[in-house]
């Protein structure tokens, strides 16, 4: 007897899960109903910026023909789930259908956080997460005009770079003392700041957007910052972080994490043994992860479990990241926030052109992780050294 897996969300992680289980499920036990809010099948969201500069939807598609033509897969585009009933084991779609499930996976991702500033509903104010968002940005962009990106994190810098490649003159507003505050310390951020400036981005830290002022026709015209500055602005992008999309938790009576997210155990299972959550919407032991690598690990774990294979706990995910700005290399690898006082911290730096910080286990001297900025060794070269004592030519690897 076949069982039905309903997956809510056809994003990067939801797609990975279905694709995995399809290949693991050699005896054809499962059929899949995938409810997708977006009108497009899953695509590589990480490469979204390249869509601004000429790559097509097809280039970024994750679902191949074999997937789309698979009779076991019922992919319903532009058909979001709006509610669910645990007792009846059904999911209600926006079209009013009740879709029954044997197992339910929530893979709803995150939504961009839009800070509650006055005027944020003005025209030409965008978020930066989907093809649709980028279509809007591309239509509104005007060469030579100033734009504002709210948020100087990985995403904000990437968005600003995208805007500058569309010919706009982006300002980036970050409330922390330096860009990418989650990943970088002040030293690495100085290198980034300089590189970003050379790319034509105007970084403004330690200040925030106080209000957005619109032209009479309704589109954004200026942005007022808390430090009093007024920036002319023809297009605005919010990149001020994301919040897990955990709305369905309420209908399902599932617990939500302190900072949002659907609470799951280290195998991504909720307290209901038929319901799972993976990707950015999952709070694994209370913590959400905004990167694709941990999401893929979750997808693999759940796929193996549903296929009846032995599984390992998701564990502590690799949170290494790399900023994708042309000409500015900034990356982290391994652990970059070891428990206070338990690690030896070593910084190799040269002016504001390069900076490498590494952490070593204080007793064994083995490498825990690090931060790289500028003309340093790459994440690919250094990542594999994690867990070992660094070699004698370590400094050469870090600052080649």
């Amino acid at each position: 007897m076949t069982r039905t897996l309903v997956v809510v969300g056809h994003g990067m992680v939801g797609h990975r899960l279905v694709d995995r289980l399809r290949s693991l499920d050699t005896s054809g036990d499962w059929r899949f109903v995938v409810l997708a809010e977006e009108a497009h099948p899953a695509y590589n969201r990480m490469a979204l910026s390249s869509y601004l500069t000429g790559r097509t939807r097809n280039d970024l598609a994750l679902a191949d023909r074999a997937f789309l033509d698979d009779p076991r897969v019922d992919l319903r585009l532009a058909c979001p789930a709006v509610s669910a009933d645990r007792g009846a084991r059904t999911v209600l779609t926006a079209h009013g259908e009740h879709v029954p499930y044997d197992a339910l996976v929530l893979a709803t991702g995150s939504r961009p956080f839009v800070p509650p500033v006055p005027g944020r509903d003005a025209g030409h104010c965008f978020v930066y997460r989907t093809f649709d968002d980028l279509d809007g940005i591309r239509r509104a962009a005007r060469r030579g005009l100033p734009a504002v990106v709210v948020g100087g994190g990985l995403l904000g810098l990437e968005a600003a770079h995208g805007l500058s490649r569309l010919g706009m003159r982006p300002h980036v507003v970050e409330s922390a003392p330096h860009p990418m505050p989650t990943q970088l310390d002040a030293g690495a951020a100085r290198v980034l700041h300089r590189g970003a400036t050379e790319l034509g981005l105007d970084l403004r830290c330690r200040t925030a957007v106080a209000s957005i002022e619109a032209h009479p026709e309704g589109t954004v015209g200026a942005v007022r910052l808390t430090d009093g500055t007024v920036l002319d602005c023809a297009l605005l992008v919010f990149a001020a972080g994301v919040r897990p999309r955990d709305e369905l938790a309420a209908a399902l009576g599932l617990e939500r994490g302190d900072r949002g997210g659907i609470v799951v155990d280290e195998y991504c299972r909720t307290t209901d043994e038929r319901i799972w959550a993976v990707g950015e919407c999952a709070a694994v032991q209370g913590r959400c992860h905004g990167l694709v690598a941990p999401g893929y690990r979750m997808a693999d774990t759940v796929a193996r479990r549903l296929a009846g294979h032995p599984v390992e706990a998701v564990g502590v995910p690799d949170t290494s990241t790399e900023l994708k700005l042309l000409g500015v290399h900034v990356a982290t690898f391994g652990t970059t926030d070891p428990a206070a006082g338990r690690a030896v911290e070593i910084v190799f730096a040269e002016d504001t052109t390069r900076y490498a910080k590494v952490f070593l286990q204080h007793d064994t001297g083995s490498l825990l992780g690090g931060v790289l900025a500028g003309d340093t060794g790459s994440r690919a070269e250094l990542g594999p050294l994690v867990g070992r004592r660094p070699p004698a030519h370590f400094e050469r690897l870090l600052l080649p």
Partner: protein
């Protein structure tokens, strides 16, 4: 041979006189000193009770007329004479070459109640410059004012002898500018653990007998208040004689003042716009001046010195200038190990060390100090040097290899000590006399003491062999 007259009898004068004779100066050589010659870096050991006061006296000089208790009061440059007072009598001394080695005087800050009506320090208040100052530090509760090396060393010495000690400094941490925030904070932590009460970001504004009042309103008991608030070159004679003076007595690369017959060196001299002070500088200048005055050299080229904090509680040393860390083109390496209380900050240019601040990494100090002084490339595995091998107990004595440098200040290697031992120098003092080891910053004192111990045990026939 012309006569050389030296004013002041500190380490600079002492070393100069010794070296002049060594270089074959046969003419008259006279040293006029207000007080007996002291090796001041050991004063804090006297404070700690580790050394008797006599131990800081420098040995008598051969073939030199030393007139102790003689204060020079004026220079007559036209007549090549100085006037002096010894006890009640005025004396006049002529010179062909005059050398000013008048050193530095403690700076006394403006604190209500710290000085008496006559301008002298009140009872219960002292600076630390001479052996007799050590005896002025009395009582159970002592407050030390000053966040420089001397303040830290004095407070450490007092804590080591069991005195209830408070160190007050203007910056949040002592040696803040020299060490930088992280390292200075580690120092505060370490001193606190050693029992010193640390009060950063404050100063003393008023003193009453047995108490001090701080600028933030804190009122503390203080049987003695020790002022370690810096020293300034003693330029009084030079200024009165019309010589060029800025911070110190300005000298050229021949250690000559603006009068070609008058030289200056040590703490009182300013060379290349700097008057850094310190015994290493004083000695290097004395060596150079002796060579210059005897025709063995023409100029003095200063070599960089190592600063090493003299406290048993922490191994702290620096080379170079803190400003070198921020100069463009420098590569920096910074290591912070809170768990093991280690910190190192290096500024490099290519493979050369420009500046370093080191805390708790004694193995690295000698290697980096030498690399800096002689401009040699630093080892390529800097991390290995700084971190050392993974923590494991080292058997006593094993970490010194046969040719290891023991005394960085005087460049004494282990073989020199072995030789001295074999020719009969069997105590630390005797080894120091024979090799000069331990007489610089004193940082190698414990190591020399241990070597001494080891050798003594080796020398004693073991019971088995006696059989």
């Amino acid at each position: 041979m012309s006569g050389i007259l030296v004013v002041g009898d500190g380490p600079a004068a002492h070393r100069l006189a010794e070296r002049l004779r060594g270089h074959g100066h046969t003419g008259p050589l006279t040293v006029l000193g207000a007080e007996p010659a002291h090796h001041r870096p050991l004063l804090t050991d006297v404070v700690a009770g580790r050394l008797p006061a006599e131990a800081v006296r420098l040995p008598p000089l051969p073939d030199t007329r030393v007139s102790t208790g003689t204060v020079v009061t004026g220079i007559d440059r036209a007549r090549h004479e100085v006037r002096a007072r010894q006890g009640g009598t005025e004396t006049v001394h002529s010179y062909d070459t005059l050398v000013l080695a008048t050193g530095a005087r403690p700076v006394v800050p403006d604190i209500v109640g710290a000085t008496g009506g006559d301008g002298h320090l009140a009872a219960g208040v002292t600076t630390l410059r001479t052996a007799s100052d050590c005896a002025r530090i009395t009582g159970e509760t002592v407050v030390v004012l000053g966040g420089g090396p001397l303040g830290v060393e004095t407070a450490s010495a007092l804590a080591a002898r069991g005195t209830d000690t408070t160190l007050i400094c203007a910056h949040p941490h002592p040696l803040h500018e020299r060490l930088g925030e992280t390292c200075a904070a580690l120092l505060t932590e370490t001193l606190e653990q050693a029992g010193v009460t640390m009060l950063g970001g404050r100063t003393v504004v008023r003193r009453t007998p047995d108490r001090v009042l701080l600028d933030d309103g804190t009122n503390l008991r203080a049987d003695t208040l020790v002022l370690c608030t810096g020293a300034a070159p003693d330029v009084r004679l030079a200024r009165a004689a019309g010589l060029r003076v800025r911070t110190g007595i300005v000298v050229d690369d021949r250690l000559r003042t603006s009068d070609p017959h008058i030289h200056a060196l040590g703490d009182c001299a300013e060379l290349n716009g700097r008057a850094p002070g310190g015994v290493d500088t004083a000695w290097a200048q004395a060596d150079a001046l002796a060579a210059i005055l005897t025709g063995h050299a023409t100029v003095h080229r200063p070599t960089p010195t190592v600063f090493r904090l003299r406290t048993r509680f922490a191994d702290v040393s620096c080379v170079g200038d803190p400003a070198d860390f921020d100069r463009p083109g420098a590569r920096t390496v910074t290591l912070t190990d809170q768990a093991n209380r280690r910190h190192a900050r290096l500024a490099l240019r290519d493979e050369h060390l420009v500046a370093a601040v080191l805390f708790g990494v004694p193995e690295a100090i000698a290697a980096l100090g030498i690399a800096h002084r002689y401009g040699r490339p630093v080892p390529s595995d800097l991390l290995g040097l700084l971190l050392g091998p993974p923590a494991r107990p080292a058997p006593v004595g094993s970490e010194t290899d046969e040719d290891a440098l023991v005394c960085l200040c005087n460049n004494v290697r282990r073989p020199a000590l072995v030789k001295a031992w074999q020719s009969g120098a069997r105590t630390v003092t005797a080894l120091a006399g024979a090799t000069r080891a331990t007489t610089g910053c004193g940082g190698c004192g414990p190591l020399v003491a241990r070597l001494c111990d080891d050798w003594e045990h080796e020398a004693r026939p073991a019971p088995e062999r006696a059989r």
